[in-house]
C-alpha cells in the first residue's frame, strides 16, 4: 500500500468543477494551503467550500472559483475590506454563503465521518441558525435537528505522514483536520515530511490511515489573519 503521490497536481487530479470540498485549518494553523493553491492553478470552479473561515475560503472567493461557502466566518474577522469583497459577490448573486457555528459545523462533519445522518442539539434555538429546522423537546428543552454534511474531497494538513496515510499534527493544527479526515469521499493530506512506516509512534497517530486516501509532501505555508505570509 502506498498512498503517497508524487506532487500536488497528481493529488488533486480528479477534483472537478462543482465539487464539494472540505478544507482544514483555523486561522494561521493547519491550512492545506498548497493543495488549495494547486486547485486554484488547475482552474477548478463552481466549488462548494466547507471550512472554518476566511484563510481557507479567500483564495476560492478572490479567484471566483466558489459558488458556495459554508463557514463559521463568512466575513473576515480583522479585515473589513475582505468582508466587503465577499458581501459584494453575495449581493450580486455570484456567491452563496451559509454561516454555520464552529461547533455545529464540527459535529456535522464528524457525523458525516461517523455515518450518523443527523443529530439534535439545543444550539441555535431561537436564532436564524435554528430557523426552518425540525425541532423536538428533550427533557423539556427545545432542540433542532442538524444534518451531517457531506463532501467529495477533504483537503487537510498534517505534520508527519507515512505511506499508509497515518498522520500527526502539531499542536492546534489538529483543528478541523482530524474531523475532516474521512468525512469526504476522498481525503487528501499534505504533510511537512513523509516518513517510513513504523516511524510514527502508534500512540502519536492523530489521524489514522484508514481515513486518508492520498498523502503529498509540501512545504508549510503560513498565512496570518492580518494578511501577511510566511513559510
Amino acid at each position: 500500500m502506498n498512498k503517497v503521490v508524487a506532487n500536488l497536481a497528481e493529488a488533486i487530479r480528479d477534483i472537478e468543477d462543482g465539487a464539494r470540498i472540505m478544507v482544514g485549518g483555523f486561522a494561521a494553523s493547519g491550512g492545506a494551503n498548497n493543495l488549495v493553491q494547486a486547485l486554484i492553478e488547475k482552474g477548478t470552479k463552481d466549488l462548494t467550500i466547507i471550512c472554518t473561515g476566511s484563510p481557507e475560503w479567500m483564495p476560492f472567493v478572490e479567484n471566483d472559483r466558489a459558488k458556495k461557502v459554508i463557514s463559521g466566518f463568512t466575513s473576515h474577522s480583522l479585515r473589513p475590506e475582505i468582508t466587503e469583497v465577499i458581501e459584494t459577490k453575495v449581493r450580486a448573486g455570484l456567491l452563496e454563503v451559509e454561516t454555520v457555528p464552529h461547533g455545529i459545523l464540527s459535529e456535522r462533519i464528524r457525523a458525516s465521518k461517523a455515518g450518523i445522518p443527523a443529530f439534535y442539539t439545543p444550539i441555535g434555538v431561537g436564532t436564524v441558525f435554528g430557523e426552518g429546522k425540525e425541532t423536538k423537546l428533550f427533557d423539556g428543552e427545545e432542540c433542532v435537528l442538524e444534518r451531517a454534511i457531506e463532501a467529495d474531497f477533504a483537503l487537510i494538513r498534517g505534520h508527519f505522514g507515512d505511506r499508509l496515510g497515518n498522520l500527526t499534527c502539531r499542536f492546534v493544527a489538529r483543528n478541523r483536520n482530524t474531523e475532516m479526515a474521512g468525512a469526504a469521499t476522498v481525503t487528501i493530506a499534505e504533510v511537512e515530511e513523509v516518513v517510513e512506516v513504523g516511524d510514527i509512534d502508534p500512540e502519536r497517530v492523530d489521524i489514522q490511515g484508514i481515513y486518508v486516501q492520498r498523502v503529498v509532501k509540501a512545504p508549510k505555508i503560513v498565512k496570518w489573519l492580518d494578511g501577511h505570509e510566511a513559510v
Binding site: 483555523f26 486561522a27 494561521a28 494553523s29 493547519g30 472554518t52 473561515g53 463559521g72 466566518f73 463568512t74 466575513s75 473576515h76 474577522s77 480583522l78 468582508t83 465577499i86 458581501e87 453575495v90 449581493r91 454563503v97 454561516t99 454555520v100 457555528p101 464552529h102 461547533g103 455545529i104 464540527s106 459535529e107 462533519i109 464528524r110 442539539t121 439545543p122 444550539i123 441555535g124 434555538v125 431561537g126 436564532t127 436564524v128 441558525f129 502539531r170 499542536f171 492546534v172 493544527a173 489538529r174 483543528n175 478541523r176 483536520n177 482530524t178 474531523e179 508549510k220 503560513v222 496570518w224 489573519l225 510566511a230
Partner: protein
C-alpha cells in the same frame, strides 16, 4: 474594562475569552490565582500573546489567531473535542464581546445590519454552553446609541444567555427582576449610565464605584 473583567476570574476556573477585546483580559489576570484559559481552536492553559514575530509559531495560536505559548500542564486537542468541552457545560465562564444585549439577556454579536455574511464562530456555543456568560463591550456604539436595548435589532447569537454586562461605564447583572446596576465606573453617575441605556435599570442597594 479589561481590568474589571479580570476581577471576575477566580482561582480554579476554566475560562474562555472570546474573539477580540476580551482577549485583552488575559494580560490582566492576577498572578496569584490559577485560571485555565480555554481556546476554542484547541488549547487549555495557554499564555499571553507573543508580540515578537520571530518567536511566533503558527501552530500555537489563540482563537483570535494571535501567537501564544503553552503553560506547564497545557493540553491541545481538535475542534470537535474543544466544542465538546464548550457545549457540554464544562466551562465555568465565557467572556464575549457584543454589538447588543437585550434586557432579557439576548446577545447579538455576529452580524451587522443588512449584511449576508457574518462571523458567528464559536460564540453561539459559548453563549449557550458556558455556566456563566459575561459580556464586555463599550456601553454605546460609535454613534453614541445604547448597546443595552429592550430588544436586539441585530440578528441574535443566542437568547437569554447573558449573566453580566461590563462596560466602560458600568457593571450590570441580569437578574430575574431585570437589569441591576451594581457598579459605576469612577466619575460616572447612575443617571449617566441610565441615560445611555435603553431599558430601565434597577439601582442596586449596594451600588458602588468600580474597583480594579
Amino acid at each position: 474594562m479589561a481590568l474589571r473583567v479580570a476581577k471576575e476570574l477566580k482561582d480554579g476556573m476554566y475560562v474562555n475569552l472570546g474573539f477580540g477585546l476580551p482577549t485583552l483580559t488575559s494580560l490582566f489576570i492576577p498572578e496569584d490565582i490559577d485560571i485555565i484559559l480555554h481556546a476554542e481552536n484547541g488549547m487549555l492553559r495557554y499564555a499571553g500573546v507573543i508580540d515578537d514575530e520571530t518567536q511566533a509559531d503558527a501552530d500555537l495560536i489563540n482563537a483570535s489567531g494571535q501567537p501564544t505559548s503553552l503553560l506547564p500542564g497545557a493540553a491541545v486537542f481538535d475542534l470537535n473535542e474543544s466544542f465538546t468541552m464548550i457545549r457540554g457545560g464544562h466551562l465555568d465562564l465565557a467572556v464575549l464581546g457584543a454589538y447588543q444585549v437585550s434586557e432579557t439577556g439576548d446577545l447579538a454579536n455576529w452580524q451587522l445590519q443588512g449584511y449576508h455574511v457574518g462571523g458567528i464562530g464559536g460564540a453561539i456555543e459559548l453563549a449557550q454552553g458556558a455556566k456563566r456568560v459575561v459580556v464586555a463591550m463599550e456601553h454605546t456604539d460609535k454613534n453614541g446609541k445604547p448597546r443595552i436595548v429592550k430588544q436586539c435589532s441585530l440578528p441574535l447569537t443566542a437568547r437569554r444567555c447573558v449573566n453580566t454586562i461590563i462596560t466602560n461605564l458600568a457593571y450590570i447583572e441580569l437578574e430575574g427582576a431585570g437589569l441591576v446596576l451594581k457598579e459605576v465606573a469612577p466619575g460616572i453617575t447612575p443617571e449617566e449610565v441610565q441615560a445611555n441605556t435603553e431599558p430601565d435599570l434597577i439601582i442596586s442597594e449596594d451600588l458602588s464605584e468600580m474597583e480594579f
